[in-house]
């Protein structure tokens, strides 16, 4: 039941009506929301529900144990044990195939049969997201930043909250659990929530699907058929596509949560306006980048250490962040490229005299923007390619200066320029609900939203593609 499907739209209508009816009765309200979340998750595979419940119960139990223990040593053992189990679980489902492949190939070269059985596991949707949510909560309790929640239903709902369950934003217990205890809805601007859903649909169904089906899917499966210009525009188109796809999903998740009265964190803030990689990561997949910073980079020593160690910390954090996206060495390469880029950014910071104002300043900014966007787009080649040979083939096509092959046409460059250019020029298009919509009475607003939604779907492909981040 994808969020863009008719089934989900009807399911959400029922959930919305029941939840607002039961909102005054908090216990029943939360139980309803929890049931809806598990029904939603079971729609992908009923067996996955057991896994989600098991990780949630383990998270609740670990946090409760930590709250009852005073001595540091047993508390460490609890956290270590919890991390070993949940990360082991995540690794088993996500990386077993990769280990099986790599180990099998290495051993075969030595003439030894692989000891691992071929399990061909199906990856439970959203496992990376709810695992990270659980880890964040337990580590916060261990650090004393959060109190262990005594309510099992609250923790179960925190782990399974369906608007954000599949692909985030990754919730923080400190933000979400108090919302469950609040008698009033935390998110009150329902008009903005509706608008976010419409904008999310537009980004996903109209823009992302168009870019995917008109250039990027073909480019990253068979790059040889493209001219250099076509391949270059295709790479930029992927930059636009993945932004529209994932930020569209995040907008929808935020809007759906908002209609239920909950505030989900911002996940994107114009990442392509960035003038350096640090700025890019302050605006891209914010809930993951801040998670990696708080639970990996800083515990490794962060930037309060020697330059060499700092570079190692950046490479380790971004490399693991890359692998978090999927069991492929291309994701690792993508992460390491960003780690390297961030390391260079840190090393070079303050080494140049930056023009303060006027045209030189503008030219400098333009140069910084182009370098950052170019680097980010280059790194996406490894993210989007199924293997290294495809990635090299895409880059080789761009470098070949060959005019033979499919070109970019006119619509694609315009679309890419629109998606990227609006951010680079820092124009706030589509960010907030327009006043004309806010002023409409409720039934008229419903009609307007319905027409907008129908036109968006009409302009999309028949048979909408799943979100890119669903596979992570």
């Amino acid at each position: 039941m994808l969020q863009t499907s008719v089934e989900f739209a009807c399911f959400f209508c029922v959930v919305l009506a029941v939840c607002w009816t039961l909102r005054p009765y908090r216990g029943v309200f939360k139980a309803t929301l929890l049931t809806a979340s598990y029904i939603f998750y079971a729609s992908f595979h009923p067996g996955f529900v057991l896994l989600l419940a098991a990780v949630s119960l383990l998270t609740y139990g670990a946090a409760r144990m930590l709250s009852r223990l005073d001595a540091d040593r047993p508390r460490r053992w609890v956290v270590a044990g919890y991390l070993a189990v949940v990360l082991g679980n995540l690794s088993f489902f996500k990386y077993y195939g990769l280990v099986f492949d790599l180990l099998g190939v290495s051993l075969e070269r030595l003439g030894i049969a692989s000891p691992l059985p071929d399990l061909s596991l199906a990856l439970p949707v959203g496992i990376s997201f709810f695992t990270f949510q659980g880890i964040g909560y337990v580590v916060d309790v261990y650090r004393g930043k959060e109190k262990a929640c005594g309510s099992l239903p609250d923790v179960l709902l925190f782990m399974a909250f369906f608007p954000t369950l599949l692909s985030g934003p990754i919730l923080r217990a400190g933000d979400f659990l108090p919302q469950l205890r609040s008698p009033k809805p935390v998110w009150e601007d329902a008009q903005q929530a509706f608008w976010l859903i419409i904008v999310g649909l537009f980004k996903k169904i109209t823009l992302s699907s168009y870019l995917s089906e008109h250039i990027t899917r073909q480019l990253f499966s068979s790059p040889d058929g493209f001219s250099s210009l076509g391949a270059l525009v295709g790479v930029f188109a992927y930059s636009a596509q993945i932004y529209c796809d994932f930020s569209g999903y995040s907008d929808m998740a935020q809007g759906l949560a908002g209609l239920l009265g909950f505030k989900a964190p911002d996940n994107f803030h114009k990442p392509y306006k960035a003038l350096n990689l640090r700025e890019f990561w302050q605006g891209w997949h914010i809930s993951l980048s801040t998670w990696l910073r708080d639970y990996l980079y800083i515990p490794l020593g962060g930037n309060r250490c020697s330059k060499g160690r700092q570079i190692f910390n950046l490479l380790a954090t971004m490399g693991l962040g890359g692998l978090w996206h999927g069991a492929s060495l291309t994701f690792l390469a993508w992460g390491l490229l960003h780690g390297l880029g961030l390391a260079v950014t840190h090393v070079l910071a303050g080494k140049f005299t930056v023009p303060g104002q006027g045209r030189p300043a503008l030219a400098w900014k333009a140069l910084c923007w182009a370098a950052t966007f170019g680097f980010v787009s280059l790194a996406w080649v490894f993210f989007a390619s199924p293997d290294f040979s495809t990635a090299w083939a895409v880059l080789a096509r761009i470098a070949s200066c060959d005019s033979v092959g499919a070109g970019p046409g006119l619509v694609l460059p315009l679309m890419v320029a629109g998606v990227v250019g609006l951010q680079a020029l820092r124009l706030n298009v589509l960010a907030t609900c327009p006043e004309w919509l806010r002023r409409l009475p409720a039934p008229a607003m419903g009609v307007a939203l319905g027409v907008l939604g129908a036109v968006i779907v009409r302009l999309g492909p028949d048979g909408v593609l799943p979100f890119i981040y669903f596979s992570f």
């Binding site: 607002w20 409720a442 939604g453």
Partner: protein, 374 residues
């Protein structure tokens, strides 16, 4: 002022109702498919009432106008707008009309024995003597330069990649890949393949069409529990499929184009595997009935030595290769290369030469006769 409680639900419900009403022309086939034996009379009345209101409000015209206005911006299989463009797209390729004139030989030949003079514009298939394994047709040489069209579902998209690499070794061949994810013949609301195929035949004028699809169609079949081998029960879904399959194949027949239907390889899920095997048998029978479309059996190409599903195989050099994707339905690039290798072996005479790069393309592919598993 912010909306609260009941008003939020009201706005959402109205928006949903309006959205579904506007999109009802796309929604109706989807809804109808939810009924096992078609919509009941009551539902049929509801559907026709909704359509009447839509027509009265001018929504049908507006939807068609929007589809037409936007059609120029969309390529290939992106939209399922062929119904609205029936005049433009299928006008002169209706049964018995167009290609009878351009290919008189094809019209005069008895069914199942259509041939073509070497060097004529359209290469076709001829029954292959003593070949009982597949489509009963012998390929003649394709004229060059020419276009090879690959159509079907996501399996066709996956197949087109190694096939395109293989075609680089053959001068004058251009591959056009027109796959549609999640499509099939059972689901015209996802994609109308018969009309789309006619459009592509007209647009690209291919000399060879390669079809691969069925995993989405197989799910609709009900298997005969009494049968030892998977056989589909003759229910409404099977009948619908057979009718649409016949229409699809007749589009190829009318064009007089050489064509291959690549059967589905073994699947990982036992239930889906049985249904796919049953569907393969239906397709094979239909292809044999046309005498023009050659069916290529790939069921065992990606199977392990025990004949069961295999995720990995060993190639001729003894290196293990992953031949399937994680969903156990799609094949990997290496798996696709194995199928392409088998296709080129079977269709070799069609290309009239030894395909130079097949060795490179399928270098890592195990031979179909010798699949080895870890």
């Amino acid at each position: 002022m912010f909306l609260k409680g009941g008003r939020i639900v009201l706005v959402y419900a109205v928006a949903l109702a309006v959205g579904l009403f506007i999109q009802f022309d796309k929604l109706e086939p989807w809804l109808a498919a939810k009924f096992d034996n078609g919509p009941s009379p009551e539902w049929t009345i509801v559907f026709s009432d909704i359509n009447r209101v839509r027509t009265g409000l001018g929504l049908n015209c507006a939807a068609t106008a929007l589809d037409w206005a936007a059609a120029g911006a969309f390529d290939g299989t992106y939209k399922n707008n062929f119904s609205s463009g029936a005049d433009l797209l299928a006008g002169d390729v209706l049964p018995g009309k167009a290609f009878a004139a351009s290919d008189p030989a094809a019209r005069d030949e008895p069914s199942g024995a259509v041939s073509v003079t070497p060097g004529s514009e359209n290469a076709t298939l001829r029954p292959r003597a003593g070949d009982a394994s597949s489509g009963l047709a012998e390929p003649l040489r394709l004229p060059t330069p020419c276009t090879v069209l690959v159509v079907g579902d996501s399996l066709a998209l996956a197949l087109a990649v190694p096939m395109e690499k293989a075609f680089k070794g053959i001068e004058g061949l251009t591959l056009v890949s027109k796959g549609k994810i999640a499509s099939g013949l059972q689901n015209p609301n996802v994609y109308k393949w018969e009309e789309a195929l006619r459009q592509f035949l007209k647009e690209y004028d291919p000399k060879l069409v390669v079809v691969m699809m069925g995993a989405n169609d197989a799910r609709y079949l009900t298997l005969d529990p009494e049968s030892q081998t998977p056989v589909a029960l003759p229910d409404r879904h099977l009948n619908t499929y057979q009718v649409r399959l016949e229409k699809f194949l007749s589009a190829l027949d009318e064009k007089g184009v050489a064509s291959y239907w690549i059967g589905m390889p073994i699947m990982g899920d036992p239930e889906l595997a049985a249904k796919c095997q049953a569907l393969n048998a239906v397709v094979r029978q239909a292809c044999e009935a046309t005498g023009r479309t050659r069916y290529l059996d790939t069921w065992n190409l990606l199977a392990g030595p025990d004949g069961g599903y295999a995720h990995y195989l060993f190639n001729e050099k003894g290196a293990r290769i992953r031949v399937r994707e994680g969903d156990k339905i799609h094949f990997s690039a290496a798996g696709g290369a194995i199928i392409v290798k088998a296709f080129l072996k079977d269709a070799g005479p069609l290309f009239g030469q030894t395909v130079k790069n097949t060795k490179d393309v399928a270098a890592n592919a195990p031979t179909p006769e010798d699949p080895r598993q870890p």
